[in-house]
Symmetry: C3
């Protein structure tokens, strides 16, 4: 595109929105790796829908339960994690909604004795602009594959390698 | 740099170009990981030159043959891949040409029974602005190293660790 | 945020600063992976402070000694490295100072015979604007965990998974 006086403010607005959306992606990873579910909730809308294939959540309360559950939550299961998010591609549907795709490498150290596990995959998110800034209203995690991860591929939503189009694309 | 009324439009133009170039890098990875060679071709100019050390291609037709070959192409060789592109540095040579450097972690699951392989390396690209947007006209993949990857280092273009300057720098 | 004629130049200035800061992060990784300590020094202020937990440096001369030492420096210890930096979050303290957080995956091939080692962690940096551009004046590396890395966790600064706030946040 060619930037000129007519589209200047709209172009910079789009870039500021992209910056804000990326920051949400990275802040999510930050709080997840710090095992702080309470810090993750404000990044989502109240009516969020999150799907990881073998599990998920509808609504903030259910999602917090998934993340913070003393038996199966982040801190209960993992001694440490590291979420590396890259390849962020943002498509605005309208000025208050965006489809966002990113690539994830998620390393996990377990509390129990077993090799560290890695998930290679993608987030397909829908973001909406709210009075408190951009938030995730829908997140689907698709998996390319794993190394030594506890969840088996058939329990995950695997990336389709034959179709021409992907959800979120 | 200090942004002011005189350089404002040129600064935003450069940022818009950077956004567009990054998007090409990530769209390449997206279609590669989906095993869709047809989606990768529009990201390159017709006269592309691609080098991975032990193999490469000159021109779109040869490149498509490399990617889509039923015996040795992406889908023939790999059951899944995940390409993580980061550390993107863009140097504009002129307003229609840019040298672009990025860092790659490429995970590969093989169709045959063997451990998953990882390549750690870099893309050194030359981008040109076309009527259809920014495209890659030259891509050289340099390799820092591998874990369990099938290709041996002597068949790859290894990153030079002694010289002061690197190609594309 | 809403971009308008009043905040336009300040918004673009902030984005240009963010671009420049990210470029320093990636240039650091580039020269580190090329085993070129001399190329890393200009990215830091003279009075730099760097901490990796089990070792560190105060001042440019001490840091160069750490990096270039023929017995324990980068080239002495590693046959190759690959530093993947993502999840960059920048908070401006004032127009000439920024707290910068990023996520790191650092792969290492050793000169001696042992498995390749990976560090998963974060950089918490303080950047300052100088006459020669943005530079790092303070860098602390926090570690989420490792795979086959030679340094033991108790020698590293591990990411706190219980506290609500992290340094640099």
């Amino acid at each position: 595109m060619i930037v000129n006086a007519d589209n200047l403010i709209a172009t910079v607005q789009r870039m500021a929105d992209e910056d804000a959306i990326e920051r949400v992606l990275y802040t999510y990873a930050f709080h997840l790796d710090a095992a702080e579910p309470q810090g993750m909730l404000p990044l989502f809308t109240e009516d969020l829908y999150v799907s990881y294939g073998n599990h998920g959540a509808s609504g903030a309360e259910a999602y917090l339960h998934t993340l913070a559950n003393p038996d199966t939550g982040i801190a209960a299961f993992f001694a440490g994690t590291s979420h590396h998010v890259s390849n962020v591609v943002i498509d605005f549907v309208d000025e208050n909604t965006a489809n966002v795709r990113s690539v994830l490498l998620a390393w996990h150290k377990y509390n129990r004795e077993r090799p560290n596990g890695i998930v290679y995959g993608r987030y397909h998110d829908v973001f909406v602009r709210t009075d408190e800034g951009w938030k995730i209203t829908r997140r689907e995690q698709q998996t390319a594959g794993t190394d030594n991860y506890h969840a088996r591929p058939e329990k995950m939503l695997m990336i389709d390698r034959s179709s021409r189009e992907q959800s979120g694309e």
